[in-house]
């Protein structure tokens, strides 16, 4: 025969208290796990973005065969513009190697106002308004990852200079990218920005 006595109020209270403590512990473990998982995902996301930016720029510089670099509008607080030029092709004429000057230049534009990085043909860049005619098509960073001005620093150290059609320009450099990235969800940052440093040589 079953024991048909119920629980006393005291027993119910004890059960609820013990249950609450166990549930609270489980909830805190679950919450910590979720936060850690989100943090890891966020870190991975930003790391991949950093790789994408660095590798994209390195490949673009290599593809273009960059021979000179110069900064445009140094005094502008909202924009940083680097002009990377191929300057010349090498051709073979009458037994000697000669420079065949071509006008292929690309622009690396850091738009501090919109917190985005752009790279594209200099012919498609509006130098007066300081932006590409097609900003979305030239943006390197993803739409929901912003390049934070605080902590971002793009500079180059010139290794050697050379004359191109009577213009003395920096002909070889270490480009140092210090990029602070923030992942945003619904226009709000998720976690703190992370800063990545990369050196590109040409």
């Amino acid at each position: 025969m079953k024991n048909e006595k119920g629980l006393t109020a005291f027993e119910v209270l004890i059960s609820i208290s013990v249950g609450s403590v166990v549930l609270m512990m489980l909830m805190s473990i679950l919450s910590t796990t979720l936060v850690s998982r989100n943090y890891m995902e966020h870190e991975n996301r930003l790391l991949n973005e950093s790789y994408h930016i660095s590798e994209y720029l390195q490949a673009s510089i290599f593809d273009l065969g960059v021979r000179s670099i110069e900064e445009y509008a140094e005094e502008d607080e909202d924009h940083q513009i680097l002009i990377l030029s191929h300057e010349f092709d090498v051709s073979y004429e009458e037994g000697v190697l000669v420079r065949d000057y071509v006008g292929r230049s690309f622009v690396l534009h850091y738009d501090r106002e919109n917190r985005s990085l752009h790279y594209g043909n200099a012919d498609h860049f509006d130098f007066e308004n300081r932006q590409f005619f097609d900003p979305a098509g030239t943006r390197i960073n993803s739409t929901n990852v912003k390049v934070d001005p605080e902590g971002t620093n793009i500079r180059y150290t010139c290794v050697s200079q050379a004359e191109f059609q009577d213009d003395l320009k920096c002909a070889s450099a270490f480009i140092e990218l210090e990029i602070s990235l923030t992942y945003e969800f619904q226009d709000k940052p998720v976690f703190q920005p992370k800063t990545y440093r990369t050196t590109i040589v040409f």
Partner: protein
Amino acid sequence: MPMNQKGLTLLELLAIIVIATAVLLPLLSGFIDNFAVNERMHARRASSSLGNATVESLDKVDFNDLLTFLGDDPIKEIEEDDCDGFSTSGEEVDNTMSSREVCGYIFDQEWSNVTFEGDAFRVFLLPYDLDEDDLDTLRERDDLPDRVIDGAEALDIPEEKEAGSFLNVFVWMEYDPAVSQSILIEGIVEGAIDLEE
């Protein structure tokens, strides 16, 4: 039917805990392994970019400095301190770096915050016209990583020694010392070529 109202004995409870731990532990270690693999892949990805940047940087060093440094050796490792032996000409000119400064930069490079230091990052210079005797010398050296010797053996051996206007560069990086995972990036640096305007 009356239910079994006996609880568990302490021994039974302990047995359950031990079994549960034995099941959970491999799962947890698999989880931790994932972190290690992720970290290793991150370092490997960065190492190839750093290796290529190193070859590119050495191409900016005065070729005569590299030739003098290598001398008649079949292989020579460039360490950070060796940069002090490279020429300083150019330091006094604005926007120009000397070979010494360029060499120093090689050992300060970063790729998405990844850096390689000390024994995990080794840069070697080899003559372009490495011959069989040189290879025998390399094989006898036990301080060289196996991949470096394999890389040297895979180079094309010219039939005759030529005056060098090229040098081979090997960059060896151990991106995970715990499991001896390494990468070898090979490249060539050349002396200046004169172009007509």
